[in-house]
Amino acid sequence: MPTSTLKHTPFNAQHRAAGAKLVDFAGFEMPLRYSGDVREHLAVRQRAGLFDISHMGEFHVAGPGAVDFVDRAVTNDVAALEVGQALYSPMCRDDAGIVDDVLVYRFPDHLMMVVNASNVAKDFAWLSSRRPAGVVLEDRSDATALLAVQGPRAADVLRGHVPDAALDLGYYRFFAGPLFGVPAVISRTGYTGEDGFELYFDPAHGAVVWEGIVAAGQPVGLEPVGLGARDTLRLEMAYMLYGNDIDDTTSPLEAGLGWTVKLGKADFAGQAMLKGQKERGLARRLVGIEAEGRRVPRHGMTIERDGRAIGVVTSGTFAPSLEKAIAMAYVETAVGAVGTAVEVVAGTTRIAARVVKRPFYTRGTHR
């Protein structure tokens, strides 16, 4: 797609000034990397990183019945959320395929759903088709800037620029308050395995907040981080990438997201099918794969055992924190136990690998 037709986030000028390599991601011109994938990855694990994730979508859901509506749309327990609390959840079809994986925030008078950039139109149509009268569903994606500050020093970066109470927020808690003097939603969430914050605000204030974070982060060695390192960070934690690891044809139970599926709650989309899957057992599961050498199992490669195809790689990367090649793959449950030796078909060669526990990286600071 020619660059001119791509959407820009409020931080496009900052990415260009920082020398980022820009790529098309879900129709947005996004930074793939600034200085280098490994350096950016390690900055987040050791210090702090700044991510532009404004391409993600934000829906506001309000009106009587809003909580019940979202609770029926997703598999996790939205009704149990307190005001000021967020949760991660798959949103399933009736056949248990995953429409999207989302965050749900509970505000005093509405809910906010944060959805994947590639799924904004699909999710909005899906939710609209199920929306009861009285519930107001609004796509505020274009009116919302979103930055993430992630890493063990994330709180140090924001100290003095947000209310002290924001720095005391527990994991998956949030509140509305000033960020560099700008009205914002300050959320202790992230997708890296490290402590950190996700910051929602009006795009009109993009430059103030970006420059503020860069300046405040300079003493602790904060670096801007692109989508390349965002992917290696999430994959070390075995977090899902929609479109790779999960999609309309995979169920959250197969993906190992059983902890987000509350089968005992009131009616929700996919419930009957998910109950059936749990009772019958699963033919395939998403497992962790660790390669022996430095050849990397990549998306789409076949997994073999004793010369027979038993699965397919969904995501793979070199993991900078582990200095190993890792991947996730759907593998037949019967032959995919942890410790199983497998081969990954990489063109004309075979990568020796084995099934390992998820997550791959266990030394993160998230809490």
Partner: protein, 129 residues
């Protein structure tokens, strides 16, 4: 970005340097920028015969993988073993310490089919036009 004018180039972003009867092969700065951080380079054994424009190895970066194509055919007489411990040399010094293999060309005339630095720069501009 300037490309050294003493090298010749392929459309697959390899470079070749002729030194006496041997040629040294590596990948261009453009290639390393597209790949990102290189974490592993799989190279052929010394003594192997490789064919022009056929894959002779693999370069793995964090986010992507690419085949290496032989600019000219010949016998591999040396491989850069220091890439085993330090594959990042490919990023840091693509035309120097990040070289990959040395060949004894079967047919030195194959060099003539490769691009000059000006040709290569024009090729890259056309790719992005």
């Amino acid at each position: 970005m300037g490309y050294p004018n003493d090298l010749r180039y392929t459309s697959e972003h390899e470079w070749v340097r002729q030194e006496g009867g041997l040629v040294t092969v590596g990948i261009t700065a453009y290639a390393t920028e597209q790949l990102g951080d290189v974490v592993f380079v799989e190279l052929p054994e010394v003594g192997r015969e490789i064919e022009a424009m056929k894959p002779f190895g693999v370069v793995e970066a964090v986010k992507t993988v690419s085949d290496l194509f032989a600019p000219v055919g010949g016998e591999v007489v040396e491989v850069n073993i220091s890439l085993g411990d330090n594959p990042a040399l490919v990023n840091h010094a693509p035309y120097g310490d990040g070289w990959m293999i040395r060949l004894k060309p079967t047919n030195p005339d194959e060099m003539k089919a490769l691009m000059s630095s000006e040709d290569y720069e024009r090729f890259l501009e056309e790719q992005h036009a």
